[in-house]
Amino acid sequence: MNNKLPLLGCLALLVMGLFVAGIGGCTSYNGLVGKSEAVDKQWGQVEAAYQRRADLIPNLVKTLEAQATFEKSTLTEIANARSSINQIRLAPGQVPDEAMMAQFEKAQAQMSGALGRMMAISENYPQLKANEGFRSLSDELAGTENRINMERLRFNDAAQVYNTSVKRFPASIVAGIGGFHPNAYFNSAAGSEKAPEVQFNLGQPKRAEAQ
């Protein structure tokens, strides 16, 4: 009787330990699910912002083509960027892995560059600047470039929160068992380099002229 008591005690401790570990495991599993979902949701926002830009392009190109003298080289550049974006097949609703992400980002950056150059060149066309439809389109484009930047920032924030919890002990054990992998980031340095390049102050006189 007496020598069974320590054994029972050990057993009780073991059960308690397992219980606590189980609860801890469940909470960190649920936490990971929540954070992973936040990343997926934010990725959806990023894709929506890029899609919004893609939807604007046909109208923009149409308006520019109506300008007989408009430089065709930028339009070809935009067409090329478009086809390389279309070649990338992302799994719907899923954050791409690092290689895919880099490819996606490169193609989109090519488009940003082409659009930026096109807008810069359009500054030289007074008829375009006076065209209300084109002005409104270029506002939409500027707004969309801004949305892309902001949603990317938010994506990186969400991915960082998730990645940190995937890698941090002891949740990393749960992440390993549950098959949670760290997400790829946007290369925000490249993105922010590109962003200021796309300056649209269309329709507003330059400051020197105004004063």
């Binding site: 926002q45 912002a49 209300e132 002005r135 409104s136 389109l137 506002d139 939409e140 500027a142 707004g143 969309t144 801004n146 949305r147 892309i148 930047n149 902001m150 949603e151 962003a195 200021p196 102050n201 329709g203 507003q204 400051r207 105004a210």
Partner: protein, 260 residues
């Protein structure tokens, strides 16, 4: 307890000190010069607008929130902080002020940077359908910039605010209240009931007789009455009247910028 240096072994304390210093430097570097949360609909620290205009703009925007639940703000900022991109500054300020109701994200802020001669309308997610970038851009170009060119900030803000309200007013339905309304303003029935109880108490206890017990009872109840009255007045005072409280709305960077 973790940060108490005495709980650390002495030979580790320098390391702790260095770590804490690094942390302090980091948080100082990350502290961004964002404007403080405004307590009214108009943020005008430099008093660029004359008091009468400022007052009427604030009232117009408050009425707008009561009618539509949209939270539209005006921020007149003397100068953009150095090495800051306009879009980034506006986005982060929007995030911090959080205009718009949670879930509806129906906020918008008209930013005007006096020294930089630039303006931006930052639009919350929920107002993007009715205030698309193209419209925001044309409001800046056609309503705001011309008045600012004439050095008429009051006219610019008035025209800009009216155009934004007109574009957005039918998107959401208001509740007749603002987020800054206090407890009693939000519960008018409760307020009426409290006032009723107060008057009833007064009526009953001023008509009791004159025995010792009745006088003692009256004394006690007068004091209770007084306490009640004080609480009610405290709740009623600080009635919102032009105060603003962000509802937690978000922006995705929508809107347009321009200069004059």
């Amino acid at each position: 307890m973790l940060i108490n240096p005495h709980s650390f072994p002495p030979h580790l304390r320098p390391i702790l000190a260095v770590l804490l210093a690094c942390l302090a430097c980091l948080s100082a570097a990350l502290a961004e010069p964002l404007p403080p949360k405004p307590d009214g609909y108009l943020y005008d620290p430099a008093h660029w607008l004359d008091p009468a205009t400022a007052d009427s703009i604030s009232r117009q925007l408050e009425t707008n929130e009561r009618a539509s639940s949209n939270q539209i703000l005006v921020a007149l900022i003397p100068a953009l902080p150095e090495n800051t991109a306009l879009e980034d500054f506006c986005f982060r300020t929007f995030q911090f002020w959080a205009p718009g109701q949670k879930g509806k994200d129906n906020g918008a802020v008209l930013f005007i940077f006096q020294k930089d001669r630039r303006a931006r309308i930052e639009v919350g997610y929920g107002l993007e359908p009715v205030l698309p970038d193209g419209l925001a851009g044309s409001i800046i170009r056609e309503k705001i910039a011309p008045a600012l060119k004439e050095n008429d900030p009051a006219g610019a803000v008035r025209a800009g605010v009216s155009a934004i309200i007109q574009a957005t007013r039918s998107e959401y339905k208001g509740t007749g209240q603002t987020n800054a309304d206090n407890f009693l303003q939000r519960h008018p029935a409760l307020t009426a009931a409290l006032v009723g109880i107060l008057l009833l108490m007064l009526a009953i206890w001023s008509h009791t007789g004159d025995t010792v017990y009745q006088r003692a009872g009256r004394f006690v109840f007068y004091n209770i009455f007084d306490l009640f009255r004080l609480i009610l007045f405290a709740l009623l005072s600080g009635a919102s009247g032009g105060k603003f409280k962000g509802g937690g709305g978000r922006s995705g960077g929508g809107g347009a910028s321009g200069s004059w």
